[in-house]
Amino acid sequence: MVAGDSSFLIKPLYNFRIPGIDYDFAITTTHVAMLLVTLTLLTIAIVARIKISKVKPTDKPGALQNVVELAIDMLSSMVDGIMGKNTKRFVNYLSTLFIFLIVSNLAGLFGLRPPTADYGVTLALGLITFILIQFNGIRKNKLSHFTALFQPVWFLFPINLIGEVATPISLSLRLFGNVMSGTVLLGLIYDLLNPYTLGYGAALHFYFDVFSGCIQAYVFCMLTMVFINDKIADE
């Protein structure tokens, strides 16, 4: 029961050792899925770039151009709704993050194990958010970024510190937990009733991959924006 060969766990595909380091490295399903996600996004981006750079302003826009313009418009209005005048500085990172998370979470639909169901991926994203929060806080508030930890009274310092450190952990665990729970449930159902799952597996995929995945991508970006904006907003 507790065996490690369940279909929803991370599987090593290729083991190797680096000389001098006593540790078994492995290329896992996460690496492959993430590489495929990145390549898909890169291909779409390059094709869109080539197509749009050829278009004259008087031409009728094609299907791809319309979709890309719509997506860019939605993303920048999403960032603009929270960030206001700081939109320009963060819109690139947040749009990239959002598109990457959406495609990663939807990877389960294509038979891949979603990369975001690996805590290594989500923790890295959470730490990037943490660094962005602290860097922008220090840049904006200088020394009062640190003295704010002693507000309103000095003995609340440990609680404030835990509050700061907990941000990336709760962000990354939220994303990981949501995607992982969907992966585990679907894996259990596929293992449990193997020949009969073709029909209702689709409905569960819709809920866990499409609905939950899109919401969690939105929430991750939203919370990143809110936390950064907390530090850099003018009082």
């Binding site: 507790v2 919401i215 919370l223």
Partner: protein, 87 residues
């Protein structure tokens, strides 16, 4: 089967599975909280249908944050079942 046939490792595995089940009781709180949030959002939309999209996105954000405690329980359950920290 006699009790003496159960090794220490079997006992640890069984208790880990039991602990994973107990950890998932953490799902109770977020369920109630999300239900309350959704009901309040329905009330808000009923009073002010024009603000439907703003209410919906705020509700989803709040629900996703409220879900975190349940997911901590889920993380504990996953670790007990698959990472097996007590060997």
């Amino acid at each position: 089967m006699e009790m003496s046939n159960i090794s220490g490792q079997d006992y640890v595995n069984a208790m880990s599975a039991l602990g994973a089940g107990i950890a998932m009781i953490a799902g109770l709180g977020p369920g109630i909280g999300q239900g309350i949030a959704a009901s309040k959002a329905c009330e808000a939309v009923g009073r002010n249908p024009g603000a439907k999209s703003a209410v919906t996105s705020t509700m989803l954000l709040g629900q996703a944050v409220a879900e975190t405690t349940g997911l901590y329980g889920f993380a504990v359950a996953i670790i007990l079942m698959f990472v097996k920290p007590f060997k």
